[in-house]
Symmetry: C2
Subunit: 258 residues, 2 copies
């Protein structure tokens, strides 16, 4: 089961500060427990050492703090070490839209490349730590390490494909389908990180879920209640237990009747 993190955090003192772990291990990609999910995926040991060079510093962000904001100068991509983020864009008249939720091992900041400025906000939904990877250093190194170059391309392509899926959801699914798809996606990603397949703690409010899914918070809440009535999930505030995964899958994909 997913549990609350309680690392003592000081957002500003992150860079250069020694970690208080007993052995004071240097935290490098090569021994990071996210190396199977994060930037180094598929790299050979020798290449893995090179990738450590791109991680300049680490940075801590407190719950509610921003990693970057719309309009800020773009300089780096960020690999999430711990914590949970949302990214959101806004219209000029104030409406905003959550474009994604990101968790450990995922890369954030790709939106900034095209105009040298970020076009969305990245907000920590719980205390978080990220690896700062200056983008010019990534470009430099990916000219030398082919596997890194291809991996960067894959990360960007994956984000494009993910967004295609969100467009499909927003464009053609009903509330129940959207929420079911959302829960299945979350629990699948958490499972890949060693958490439960059936239990999760939502790190975001109903309003943020609604914004992501193109629904109002009341509709999200009602839809949760409906799932509970049907015995598909148990919900107690932000704690969700999935009772019947197949039922959720059937909601998303209603052609099979058993």
């Amino acid at each position: 089961m997913q549990e609350a993190r309680n690392i003592p955090i000081s957002a500003d003192a992150a860079a250069g500060q020694h970690r208080m772990t007993p052995q004071t291990i240097k935290v490098a990609c090569s021994n990071c427990n996210l190396r199977e999910l994060c930037m180094p995926v598929g790299l050979k040991p020798a290449e893995l050492d090179r990738i450590d060079e791109v991680v300049a510093t680490r940075r801590k962000v407190k719950r509610g703090g921003t990693l970057f904001r719309n309009g800020e100068k773009f300089a780096s991509l960020y690999a999430i070490r711990t914590g949970f983020f949302k990214t959101c864009v806004a219209t000029e008249d104030g409406r905003d839209q959550v474009t994604g939720f990101q968790m450990a091992g995922e890369i954030i900041g790709l939106d900034g490349i095209v105009n040298d400025h970020h076009t969305c906000d990245a907000v920590a939904l719980e205390d978080a730590e990220v690896c700062v990877m200056p983008f010019d250093r990534i470009e430099e190194l990916s000219r030398e390490v082919n596997a890194l170059q291809h991996h960067v391309h894959k990360i960007m392509s994956r984000e494009i494909v993910r967004e295609h899926g969100v467009m499909l959801l927003l464009g053609s699914m009903r509330a129940e389908e959207r929420l079911a798809a959302f829960l299945l996606n979350l629990v699948q990603r958490l499972h890949a990180r060693g958490f439960s397949q059936s239990e999760l703690i939502l790190r975001m409010t109903r309003e943020e879920i609604g914004s992501y899914l193109g629904l109002k918070l009341e509709t999200v809440s009602r839809t949760f209640s409906k799932f509970v009535e049907e015995g598909t999930v148990e919900v107690k505030q932000r704690h969700v237990r999935i009772i019947d995964t197949d039922a959720l899958k059937r909601i998303v994909n209603p052609q099979v009747h058993h």
Copy 2:
């Protein structure tokens, strides 16, 4: 004004076929009239010559034909020379969603990088011709030409940012706002290609517009009619003339009242 193209097309005989222009000019990036919009943006003349190396062949696609399909092996990106495409994804139970419309100078196929297979269909909405750019060759060359490397990254980032905008549209706008934003976006891109700022011919059906905007075709039609009643646009089938651009902008962005 935008006009119908009537190049004689033979979809299969494209590669290696001589063009019938009087001077039989070799069509290269360096003299392509799209070089200010397409792949070569911002490259120096010397680099421009190198980029010609990545264009392996050209390929013609007839109206209604597919450039690639969901599930096909990914090998190349495509730069659109002429014509108009849509890309769409589908759920397993048959619903599909148009994820974008692409016109001359735009790059298509980025979705295929992550899994080595395409995850959407690219369909020509009118007879079209594309430059085929094998992706391994792009990667090879962008290790040598820094400007190309960065440009590829920008193209992918631009697509991510574009999709953020679509998510905002699908997640938080009403029908009128969606259609107004759609028309403004189309006419702006056409204008960048030398067409009118106020007149355009839609290359897609009401149903395809609706799919892209998360609306049914009847709603698209009704919303067009509403714009006509209000004197904002004139619509005769697929021919659209924008009478009052500011009114459209006000619909999308309703905080200013004049």
